[in-house]
């Protein structure tokens, strides 16, 4: 009896114990995917007025849900702050962390995470008021810079100023909202975060046209979704959900023409869409896993345009995020 009580108590105290091994089965049994998301960053993760989530990271989670359940609606988005995101993933509160998270060596090795790839190649930049007449980040010596806590941004900022022998006054806030609000009210001369974030946040400022993003990119910020360390099957499922979107774009399959393309003679297309081979089963998914992703979410290019690219308010150039075949860095291994 005592033993049973203690076992129950332990399960309550450290409830996340069993979540590590069989995430795919857990998710299927639960019937819904828990996705750690940003919640306040336009283009990556933001619910609209109707509560419908949209963004590049959000699409990745929808793609995983489409692959697992055949239904992209079966996702519960959990908004996480930069500070809390890793704990939420470690403790099993979310199954996937898709929250514009930079892939770094220490996060990969020390936090018990595995990054599944890069869904957005980014770099850190600065935004300043036009009135300051600053044209380069190298002119920011002695400036006060607002920054969000718990991100790689804080370190990059300190490193950049140190490397260029400039003095710096950082004002650190727990969330991006507070940091942007402080910048907007004049507490800081500059606001720094990933360049994509700067474009997104600029839209929320009182007078967006008064602010410019400086040309310097001071760091490499490969943003990628992460899963818990130690569950290779789930790692594969999430990884190949992203690769399916990239491969679909490369093969010219879109949400509009996916039904048509299924009749294609191209062996690469047939393998991806499941009409040849059993690649879906190998992942522990249905045969038409990739069809569901493309039909319900779209390929990577569609997702990019809709959320951050020309079809969105952000209008960010694809730059490094073009496919490898178009001169960018986005490259997915083949389905074979």
């Amino acid at each position: 009896m005592k033993r049973i009580v203690s076992v129950i108590a332990l399960a309550v105290i450290f409830g996340a114990t069993s979540a590590s091994a069989q995430t795919l089965k857990t998710v299927k049994d639960r019937g819904i995917l828990n996705c750690g998301s940003n919640g306040s960053l336009a283009g990556f993760g933001l619910p609209d007025a109707q509560g419908k989530w949209a963004g590049l990271d959000v699409d990745l989670c929808r793609a995983v849900a489409a692959a697992v359940f055949g239904d992209d609606k079966k996702v519960k988005f959990v908004p996480l702050s930069a500070k809390d995101r890793f704990t939420a993933l470690q403790s099993g509160e979310v199954d996937v962390l898709a929250r514009n998270t930079t892939w770094t060596s220490s996060r990969d090795t020390q936090l018990g995470l595995n990054f599944i790839g890069v869904n957005y190649y980014d770099g850190q930049g600065f935004m300043v008021r036009k009135a300051l007449k600053v044209n380069s980040a190298l002119e920011l010596g002695e400036a006060s810079v607002c920054v969000q806590q718990g991100t790689t941004t804080e370190l990059n900022l300190a490193d950049y100023f140190r490397a260029n022998k400039m003095k710096l006054k950082t004002v650190t806030f727990a969330t991006a909202n507070e940091a942007v609000k402080a910048y907007d009210s004049g507490r800081c001369d500059a606001y720094t975060t990933d360049a994509s974030g700067l474009y997104a946040e600029r839209l929320r400022l009182a007078n967006a046209a008064d602010h410019i993003v400086l040309p310097e990119i001071i760091s490499k910020e490969p943003l990628g979704p992460a899963v818990r360390h130690g569950d290779d099957q789930w790692f594969d499922v999430v990884k190949w959900s992203l690769y399916a979107m990239l491969n679909a774009e490369e093969l010219g399959i879109t949400s509009a023409n996916v039904a048509e393309m299924a009749k294609s003679d191209n062996p690469d297309v047939k393998r991806l869409l499941g009409s040849e081979g059993n690649y879906g089963e190998q992942l522990g998914l249905a045969k038409d896993w990739a069809v569901n992703i493309i039909k319900l979410v779209g390929n990577y290019g569609e997702s990019f345009d809709r959320n951050v690219g020309s079809g969105s308010a952000l209008k960010i150039d694809r730059g490094l995020n073009k496919l490898w075949s178009k001169g960018g860095l986005q490259y997915a291994p083949p389905v074979r």
Binding site: T17, G112, A174, E178
Partner: protein
Amino acid sequence: MSIDLRTGSPPARVPFYNDPKVRSIAYQVALCAVIVFLVYGAARNAIDNLERAHIASGFGFWNQTAGFDISQTMISYSNLSTYGRAFWVGLCNTLLVAVIGIFLATILGFIVGIARLSKNWLVNKAATGYVETIRNIPLLLQLLFWYNAVLKALPDFRDSVNIPGGAFLNNRGLFLPEPIPQTGFNIVALTFFAGIVVSIGYHIWARKRQEKTGQQAPVFLVSLGLIVGVPLIVFLALGLPLGFDYPRAGKFNMAGGIEILPEFAALLFGLSIYTAAFIAEVVRAGIRAVSHGQTEASYSLGLRAQPTLRLIVVPQAMRVIIPPLTSQYLNLTKNSTLAVAIGYPDLVQIFTGTVLNQTGQAVEVVAITMAVYLTISLATSLLMNFYNSRIALVER
């Protein structure tokens, strides 16, 4: 059984498991065992899971380079310092706001508390309004109010408010001239400290003399002369050996001088004003607790109103005031962790914020932080309990 009755021997000894004494001990031992087992199990389980998930553990991070900057540092710190150093910076910032906050809250609280007992209608109602407004609004909202509504409404650095005496006020903070001691200033400081020591000695001597002979001595005036007057004369005699580093306009902001961050000011105002409302009530309760008969008795012995308050009412009120005052001090210290909402770099913001996030070692970092707050609170309690026992009613 029947044999026992017949022979009339004493009743059979109660079996040990029915002995209430043994039982109660057994229950307590069992409970302790369960608790120890639970705690051990939880700890073991946490360690196993951390290992299985390849999450780093241990305190090795303490001496690693932190790499980030902190806006307010009382001890030397740069982004090349270690996480351990960042911890001390955070602790100093927490203690700074807590100590100054306690000081301000106590003064304000006593003033408002006494004002609530005033017979002057306006003073009384103003104090009541203050207490009822402030203590019924959540502290977090008050901090956000101070930070966003009051301090950020200050002008931009180019339109800084120039305060006479070389100080500037803008939305980046308050910039004061920094005093730079020059040769000879040590002597002034020395006379100041000597003045304090001599004043204490004089105070003790005066009290002893009063107990013996009943003669009073002008302790306050003499102390004032020793602590303020003498150093001032020395300071003037040495030809003002003190320079000032005045803040001046830099490219983006004021440069030089002492900088008081708006985050610090907002937190300090918020905490002091909020806690003062509670202290005011504690003070009022304490004074009310002294029966009016004491005052009347004092008057009938011929004491005037002032000495009655100082010698009869306040010492008795303090016995009632100190214990709840202690918990207000503890509350203020603990509430300072709300700093995280307005970007003041206190222990929680630096250590369980940035350091936790960069190292990922949540268990260690949170455990250290909890231990620190526990230590600060226990130390405050200890000090206040000591003071309380000093002023407790001595029964003769």
